[in-house]
Symmetry: C2
Subunit: 517 residues, 2 copies
């Protein structure tokens, strides 16, 4: 396979080149704050098919309705807007949700980071890559699978901050189960604000925890800045099918009133929480998202909102969730197109998998969803890195492997260089038939930036790979995350702000008895 | 993650369901002969960009030219057609190759299998999945990496025949290095014709071996059928950059004169055999392919020809080939679009990777190329299953894992059901907010066909997976291929034909001294 010229170059360039790359790959100073898409999206469905889904979703909203549970305020809001409310079921006049959203919600917005160079644009032609969210367990090759702790959370905050291809610090990187449930959000928010300077996600497990998130952001960004700008994006899951619960509504209300962004995300395992068909699932999730986003816009017109979709299937044999298979990819392509037609940013995708380890299953499944999200036009990709086992486990090694894929997504979406240099006619003329391009002027000029360089892939010969210990990808990734944590240096923060944050956390913790709900 | 309802179903359905699937998954009787694409292709490049590449390729053909080495007959053919020939360099009037191809080559054709139910359409809206090709080594978990033998070749013939998602028996599934080079094609062709009844690829290592392939096909299909129909598709690699050698030209000539199909494929590791840019690489490979396909059409107007592209990058640090990275995907999308505009079938893609084992690297890289090929509009996908280590090794386990991905490609390309049943409004009405869909009428009706069912993925809980031995995907795949080979039953063949084939092989072998070139 390898040409003799390639072998010659290998000898002379190998070591210096590899070391140089290993530095730049994880040098977080040389990155773009978010991806700007330069290539078209893939449109799987025809306009007619999308109209069919939109019409059917309106029928669901009108005839079946959506339940808003234990939240009389939400019911009142919808009744005032013209909905028919019976008990907790809300039925919407056709087109009402769509109109409310289109008249009020921004099609794109900036989420500001405490380092202004890391602020992200969400919507339009941007793509923001965000680590995985919500796992109670972590896994690494040394210690296996175990409950996550705050140390793990802080580690993933640091790894995310150092990763040049992740643009956002994320939210519940893992559940720090060593901290009481009613206090852990304080430590998590502090970790995002202190050990990273990328944008972050807020707590949604109770309205008062959402308020704590906003208050801590005010310490960092200033009260008036927070009133006028988005500095937090938070995840509001629908309780599919066709239900929102008061916890999520309460948190969403706090963020919306404070002009902060929410991702309204139906969380669907098709076959259990939605019909077993693609159109049926899209219809339901779109109806749910429309109702949830209308709730946000009725609460605070103009508050940034993202249409989210988490959709997987279940095994019809075992009931277990499955990932990376074709049906959820099709749902994702359709949902992204529905978001474009509605005119709001879209969240979906990620390195989703059911595997228990970072093996071939994990990688096929993750790559299938990552490629789909890349081409579908996802704006905000939660779960980009680290996800194992249907989201139950955050893996240190898979985090590294997935982040490498994130880098490839960035390169792909940056498009094709059609300049004279990109056309390379000079190289073709210089080299001609039967020669090689390694030494030609054009190659020398473009050497550094020519191809994406994976920090994890082993492209060496079998013999070289064997001499290096015959390590698989998971084993190589293990060395990389350790090296990163060993060299981590926190981003600067004004000491006064840090003290104020720490005091806020301490006061809040002291004011409450520990509780695990 | 798993809902309680899902758990309930798991208990009642698990064992019978899994066993039933494991049977049907590899029951080659219930398959489609090839995929019929029901979804659009992804167009990465604009028309302007494609025109730029086409124009630049014509400039390469006109000003730089292509070398045809050690083949005066080819040079004479081009000279008669109006080319400028100096020594072995052929320069083409602008547009000449394109015109010859468009005036003569079919845009799609049937390759007939000895079992007519397995004949494949190549081109148009079809996609034909073909196993990997050409590795000198094989690998399995029990015996590791070793030189391939004829037994391995026969094993992969059998596995391919049994795989419902591979439509074609392929060619050099691995190199049977225990057989002399000048005789092994006889055993390989016999294996394809006897142990499979899917269509197959012929020998290209010498013109007389190509002729042996045609002669053996005539024994099976009859002489007049072979004259009038395509029963062999063979791989003709360009010797990039901008060179064809006499071996490949000689084999191509034999197939074309016999009206059999050839895949004219530039084999490019960008950076070594082509410029380091996407447009530069596409320009060169398109020029090479145009020249090669024009050679076929000048040799035998109307002979089926496929525009092939094998394009990867090299590591600019080590010179090693790399796979699954964004640049080769972009090249693939462009080349597919160029083929559509030219009007010929297109070959590219596959489960390409540089990894030495079927680990996460192998799977990410393979999935990235498989997804790209699926969406680009590849018609003939060589290397779908089994490829490791840049093609040096055919892996039994990866063969199983990749073939599972092939099944997912088939489901994705079969498109979206927008019928009343697909819309599933009855399910949404029956279930309503807060309930689950597992028991509803619509789910019961669509239970069997709802979602793609992987034979390899483990979607069970961590605890269940651990109880089952905590096996990774590669280990699970090991059990599957052994089970397949244990249950293999050859397809029927007329005894007279089998005898004739065996006599042909014996006579040919006896007539030649062993040679390893």
């Amino acid at each position: 396979m390898g040409s003799p010229m390639a072998t010659k170059r290998r000898r002379s360039k190998k070591h210096s080149g590899r070391r140089a790359r290993s530095k730049s790959q994880f040098d977080s100073l040389h990155t773009v704050p978010y991806i700007t898409r330069q290539v078209p999206v893939y449109e799987l469905a025809s306009e007619e098919l999308l109209e069919l889904v939109e019409n059917n979703a309106e029928t669901v909203l009108e005839e079946i309705g959506i339940e808003f549970r234990d939240d009389p305020q939400a019911l009142g809001l919808f009744q005032s807007a013209g909905c028919i409310v019976k008990e907790e079921r809300v039925r919407f006049p056709r087109g009402m949700c769509r109109e409310i959203i289109q008249n009020n919600a921004p099609s794109e917005f900036m989420q500001h980071a405490r380092n202004p160079e890391r602020s992200v644009k969400i919507g339009g032609n941007s793509m923001v890559l965000v680590p995985a969210y919500g796992s109670p367990f972590v896994r690494d090759l040394d210690n296996g699978r175990r409950y996550a702790t705050l140390v793990d959370f802080e580690n993933f905050t640091k790894l995310t901050w150092m990763s040049p291809f992740l643009h956002h610090s994320g939210g519940t990187l893992c559940e720090p189960v060593d901290i009481p449930v009613n206090k852990r959000h304080l430590d998590m928010i502090y970790s995002h604000l202190r050990w990273s300077d990328k944008p972050f996600m807020g707590s949604v497990t109770a309205p008062e925890r959402a308020q704590d998130t906003v208050d801590m952001a005010k310490i960092v960004f200033g009260e008036s800045f927070v009133s006028d700008n988005c500095v937090i994006t938070s995840l509001i899951n629908a309780n599919s099918p066709m239900t929102f619960d008061s916890t999520m509504l309460g948190a969403a209300r706090v963020y919306a009133r404070n002009n902060q962004a929410t991702v309204v995300s139906p969380f669907i395992l098709a076959g259990a929480m939605s019909p077993v068909t693609i159109i049926g699932t899209c219809t339901q999730l779109f109806a749910e998202a429309l109702a949830g986003m209308a709730f946000i816009q009725l609460t605070k017109p103009g508050a940034p909102v993202i249409f989210g979709t988490f959709s997987s299937s279940i095994s019809m044999q075992s009931g277990a969730p499955t990932f990376g298979s074709p049906e959820p990819s099709m749902v994702l392509y359709l949902a992204a197109a529905l978001a474009r037609r509605l005119g709001v940013p879209f969240r979906s995708g990620g390195g989703l998998c059911a595997s228990k380890v970072a093996d071939a299953q994990a990688a096929y499944e993750s790559a299938n969803t990552l490629q789909t999200a890349m081409l579908a036009g996802v704006h905000f990709m939660l779960h980009t890195s680290g996800w194992l086992e249907g989201g139950l486990t955050m893996s240190y090694e898979k985090f590294i492997l997935d982040t490498d894929q994130a880098g490839m997504i960035q390169v792909f979406l940056s498009g094709i260089d059609s300049s004279e240099n990109g056309q390379a006619m000079s190289a073709l003329r210089e080299v001609g038939p039967g020669k090689h391009f390694l030494g030609c002027q054009h190659t020398q000029t473009n050497f550094e930036s020519a191809f994406y360089r994976s920090a994890v892939a082993d492209n060496n010969s079998f013999e070289q790979w064997q001499d290096d210990g015959g390590k698989d990808a998971e084993t190589r990734a293990n060395a990389i995350w350790k090296d990163m944590l060993n060299t981590y240096q926190p981003p600067p923060i004004e000491p006064g702000i840090d003290e104020e944050l720490l005091a806020f956390v301490k006061n809040k913790k002291d004011s409450l008895p520990d509780a695990n709900y």
